[in-house]
Subunit: 159 residues, 2 copies
């Protein structure tokens, strides 16, 4: 497992994501770690992150899976380029599509574990299978289609 | 168009959702209005709700579509039961599945419009087509599969 979070390897100008950017002061700060074949993250929802009392908000779950899937794609791309994850900046992907199946209510007060496994890769796109568990229960499974950030979005710096 | 938000018709104990609960002090307070055939909401992202500077965070977009789709389902169910939306409490649905296709980067600094249209309804389930626009540009389209809240989740009150 890498000791540095994949998101901490994004260039500074791409580190403001509400979900995972280390420079977003108000964000969730999701941090994903690469172990060579999959990425793993843990996250403790806040008491306000509920759908109904006692259960985690589905939009938060979607956010966790989204940022974690994107980080997985960046790590996969880095590895495919023959570089070790953790040695330098990683490419920034964005989400083309997100699918989440909510399999079981997700309890609050528990650290959630999120996993991402690459399923398919092409020149500009990585398809990542993602899941979220609370203890032994897989509460959500889904898929993130990650594409390399288009130049048009890179032009939005600092706005 | 109803003058009361669909989410304001949820019973108090189900009004703590981070996305749309009027009683969640830290939430997004998404509010959806029913016009008889579809639901419409508007939302102004905060400056911290970015993916990369200048563009709205995909997890927020997923959250907006999720809560709006659930509200659409509640309105549809109310109407199907022969009641007018706005006259009393509406049933609380939860998300079984969420699909989002991100069609174009969503600019910050613009009020977003979210629409939800029912596609299919059965005894316990409503399938809702959702979209999110910035001005004339449809930035995301997706689908929410909403199911009536299981009793197990209703048992989580106050925890």
């Amino acid at each position: 497992m890498t000791s540095v979070a994949i998101q901490d390897l994004y260039p500074d100008e791409f580190s403001y994501c509400y979900g995972c950017g280390r420079l977003n002061l108000h964000g969730l700060h999701i941090r994903s770690f690469w172990d060579g074949s999959e990425a793993v993250a843990t996250f403790m929802p806040g008491p306000h992150h509920v759908a109904v009392p006692g259960y985690v908000y589905g939009g938060l779950i979607a956010s966790l899976l989204d940022c974690h899937g994107i980080a997985t794609a960046a790590a996969v791309a880095e590895q495919a380029a023959g570089r070790q994850v953790g040695q330098g900046p990683v490419p920034r992907y964005v989400t083309a599509a997100l699918q989440v199946n909510y399999l079981a209510p997700t309890p609050v007060g528990t650290v959630l574990e999120i996993r991402g496994q690459p399923k398919e890769m092409s020149a500009r796109k990585v398809r990542v299978a993602v899941s979220l568990s609370a203890g032994d229960t897989v509460c959500a499974r889904g898929e993130v289609v990650a594409v390399q950030m288009p130049e048009s979005m890179g032009g939005g710096h600092g706005t």
